[in-house]
């Protein structure tokens, strides 16, 4: 495709290839667009440029012009404009492109520079790769292979520094491995706004330290572990647990809040070992919260529901579904209520809506879950998929923020509601607000991942899967639909959520037509209820999702039109890559956002 001439684009020549890049791009980023790798440690695209590791040295030249006439000087041998090469290498991260700039990344000078820098970096670096957690994803290790000498000329004693300083609740520091790139310091200062890390002492005694008496305790501390190019900062949780090359990576979405942080789930043989952020420049950049990383622990939590139950006694999934069908059939029309969930996936919410329709328009309530937003990647709305419930038509308005189920409670007290289907919610939790007495008054069918007061009081318990054990989509606060994939298999005896919901729908339909439906599970055959099959009906029935299928949603999500819901009082405040709709209207050009965007550049 021919690009229209853009005044903001600058054409540069890298290793003989020309590329047009936006003004202000540095040489590392411009080269990346040509798939030319310039090794670097201290440079990080989301942080300010420090230029202290010197690994990204490249050769740079500018087209020669006559100083007097400004006329180009032509090299007679080639007939092209002569290039004046700077006699010494320059750093790629701190060099921004300018028109006609020439870059060489493969010359002997560059090779020598990289080798020398590597040699200096390795002077005091311990050779503990065999016991180092970073091994396998260590930039120093990779580049020592690529640019190192292969043997050491160093015969002096290496530095001895603290080997296992506890920096905070999540991070452990091995100072000997630190190459003093200062990424963690800049992250703490610029992104987490918790400036507690710094270098003390000087020269080869320089040591990364937390200010005495303070600790790296903010909810973003584990990002320093991610961006540490070596094994200096390690996750206390993941340390010494597993070699990274054994782990399978699965794309997922964080369920902590409506931000919908893109994540990678690292698992081996069905066990999750860690969660790390996945870059999405429209959502979470390269960051995520510490609290979100710990959510994988719910998978193996002792209170996990691993088997279906009927009136407190363990039962097979078939028996439990049959009991549920029996309950639905026995309930008179209009006496059934459904509690849906903002934690369910879009597909589950769609099936919940179908279930309500199959039950003759049973009323659906949702539990609001509002906490305090941190203005970065933890939003006030702790439901990952509240907007999905709006988009799929499960609800028309937002649930009340306090005592979300008060209306349902009143209906139970009045004797109007006799059967409640709860899908993934603990109805007695503070934000839901039903009392134990109210639960005792109804026949309760509950779907859930973990035991709670609700599952204890339920007539039928159907266990479900956590986000790591199934595939689906969430709609985040920006109305961006994002998909997550199954990372590990669910516990034995726990059926697929979509199959369970489909079985309930089949039972409800059978009950409505007053015919026999002894095997509701069989009615919803496995083929008709996987995520792709649900999407076929979903796309047909939900206009907002009509243009896509589960397969065609890209890895970084797809923005839906949120304007139909712009008037709703969403709980979220302004945060990274998110501005509340109402605020955006009142202040077309908010100064705060602009000055914040400029701040990193100025620093």
């Amino acid at each position: 495709m021919i690009q229209p001439a853009n005044p903001d684009l600058v054409t540069v020549n890298i290793d003989g290839r020309e590329i047009a890049v936006p003004k202000g791009t540095n040489v590392i980023e411009a080269s990346r667009k040509l798939s030319i790798d310039i090794p670097h440690y201290c440079y990080h695209e989301k942080l300010s440029v420090a230029g202290n590791c010197r690994m990204c040295l490249i050769e740079m030249g500018m087209p020669a012009v006559d100083p007097a006439t400004k006329a180009p000087i032509i090299d007679e041998a080639t007939g092209k404009q002569k290039i004046n090469w700077i006699p010494k290498p320059v750093i790629g991260c701190g060099t921004n492109v300018s028109p006609g700039m020439h870059i060489r990344t493969t010359t002997p000078m560059v090779k020598d520079a990289r080798e020398s820098v590597m040699e200096f970096l390795l002077v005091n670096h311990p050779l503990d790769c065999p016991i180092c957690d970073q091994a396998g994803e260590c930039k120093l290790q990779e580049q020592a292979t690529g640019y190192g000498r292969g043997y050491s000329r160093y015969i002096e004693e290496k530095n001895v520094k603290p080997k296992r300083s506890v920096l905070g609740p999540h991070v452990t520091l091995d100072d000997e491995r630190c190459i003093l790139c200062s990424r963690c310091i800049r992250f703490s200062r610029e992104i987490a706004k918790d400036d507690v890390l710094g270098f003390t002492d000087r020269g080869s005694y320089s040591t990364l330290t937390c200010f005495p008496g303070r600790e790296l305790a903010n909810n973003y501390s584990l990002n320093t572990v991610d961006i540490c190019p070596v094994g200096a900062l390690t996750s206390t949780d993941f340390r010494f647990k597993m070699r990274v090359w054994f782990l399978k990576q699965t794309n997922s979405i964080c369920t902590e809040s409506s931000v919908g942080t893109n994540t990678v789930v690292w698992s081996r043989e069905g066990v999750i070992y860690r969660i790390t952020p996945r870059q999405n420049d429209g959502v979470n950049d390269t960051w995520m919260t510490d609290s979100g990383r710990m959510l994988y622990k719910q998978v193996l939590a002792p209170e996990r529901l691993k088997s279906a139950a009927v009136r407190g006694a363990a039962a097979s999934a078939e028996d439990a579904l049959r009991a549920a069908a029996e309950l639905l059939r026995a309930s008179e029309a209009g006496s059934i209520a459904i509690v849906g969930s903002g934690r369910s996936s879009v597909e589950e919410q769609f099936l919940t809506r179908k279930l309500a329709e199959a039950l003759g328009g049973a009323p659906v309530s949702l539990v609001s879950r509002v906490g305090e937003g941190d203005g970065l990647l933890l939003s006030a709305d702790r439901n990952p998929n509240l907007r999905g419930a709006l988009v799929t038509g499960l609800i028309q308005s937002l649930p009340p923020v306090t005592a979300s189920l008060a209306a349902l409670g009143a209906a139970i007290d009045a004797g109007k509601v006799k059967t409640v289907i709860s899908i993934g919610e603990d109805l007695t939790a503070a934000e839901a607000g039903l009392s134990a007495e109210q639960l005792a008054k109804v026949s309760l069918i509950t779907l859930g991942t973990h035991a709670s007061a609700t599952s204890a009081a339920a007539a039928v318990v159907l266990p479900t899967l956590t986000v790591f054990e199934k595939s689906g989509t969430f709609v985040n606060q920006q109305f961006r639909i994002q998909k997550f994939a199954k990372a590990v298999p669910g516990p034995e005896g726990v059926g697929d959520d979509l199959a369970t919901l489909s079985a309930l729908i089949a039972a409800a339909k059978a009950g409505a037509s007053a015919s026999e439906a002894d095997t509701p599970a069989a009615a919803a055959s496995a083929a008709s209820c996987d995520v792709h099959a649900v999407w076929a009906t979903l796309a047909a029935e939900v206009p907002a999702l009509g243009t896509m299928t589960y397969k065609t949603i890209p890895d970084d999500g797809l923005l839906l039109d949120g304007t139909p819901y712009a008037a709703l009082p969403f709980a979220e405040g302004e945060a990274l890559h998110y501005k509340p709709a109402c605020a955006a209207e009142t202040a077309a050009a908010p100064e705060g956002a602009e000055s914040r965007a400029k701040a990193p550049a100025a620093a």
Binding site: R189, D195, V196, L197, G198, F199, T200, D201, R202, T209, C210, F211, P212, R214
Partner: protein, 177 residues
């Protein structure tokens, strides 16, 4: 931080010299050390609050420069040059003599609370080595004899000032300069 009123005044004044407050970190640390004789714990927090930055940024500066002391020193600060010209001319012997005279080790406070001796890098008087400085006063061409004289003079001045109080106040060190 127990600073003299005039130090506080100078601190407030020196901050105005810079376009950003952070730049006053070094001058402030110098002023505090001049007043108290060293930088007591809590200095980083105090300076950081004064300059509206985080304590770790001040802590990094304090530990970067060896001229900033985090422990008290004796009433007089003796710095003996250890660099090449002085070393060739007997700087090491001078240093050893002073240690012997005051019965102390490098970096420690002598038992009488009188001096702290440091063996430092170049004092920028290479033509007249060995050199040493007693507080801000430079002594050139110091040999073992002259070192003994300097030590005697320090002790004489100390005696003239009267017997040292039981708990020697290091804060007086800077004032005696």
């Amino acid at each position: 931080m127990n600073l003299k009123p005039e130090t506080l005044q100078r601190i407030d004044e020196v901050i105005t010299h810079y376009p950003v407050k952070r730049s006053a970190t070094l001058p402030l640390l110098h002023l505090i050390q001049e007043d108290i004789g060293y930088l007591p714990s809590g200095t980083a927090e105090w300076v950081a609050a004064k300059l509206e930055i985080e304590p770790i940024n001040v802590h990094g500066v304090i530990t970067f420069y060896p001229m900033f002391r985090q422990k008290p020193i004796g009433r007089r600060h003796i710095r003996v040059c250890r660099t090449l010209s002085c070393a060739l001319n007997g700087g090491y012997k001078v240093c050893d003599k002073l240690k012997e005279e005051f019965n102390t080790e490098l970096g420690e406070i002598s038992p009488d609370g009188e001096v702290t001796i440091e063996f430092v890098e170049c004092l920028a008087s290479c033509g007249s080595g060995p050199v040493l400085m007693v507080d801000d006063e430079l002594h050139e061409r110091v040999d073992v004899d002259k070192a003994r004289q300097i030590a005697a003079q320090i002790r004489a001045e100390s005696a003239a000032r009267g017997p040292a109080p039981a708990a020697a106040s290091p804060a007086a060190a800077a004032a005696s300069a």
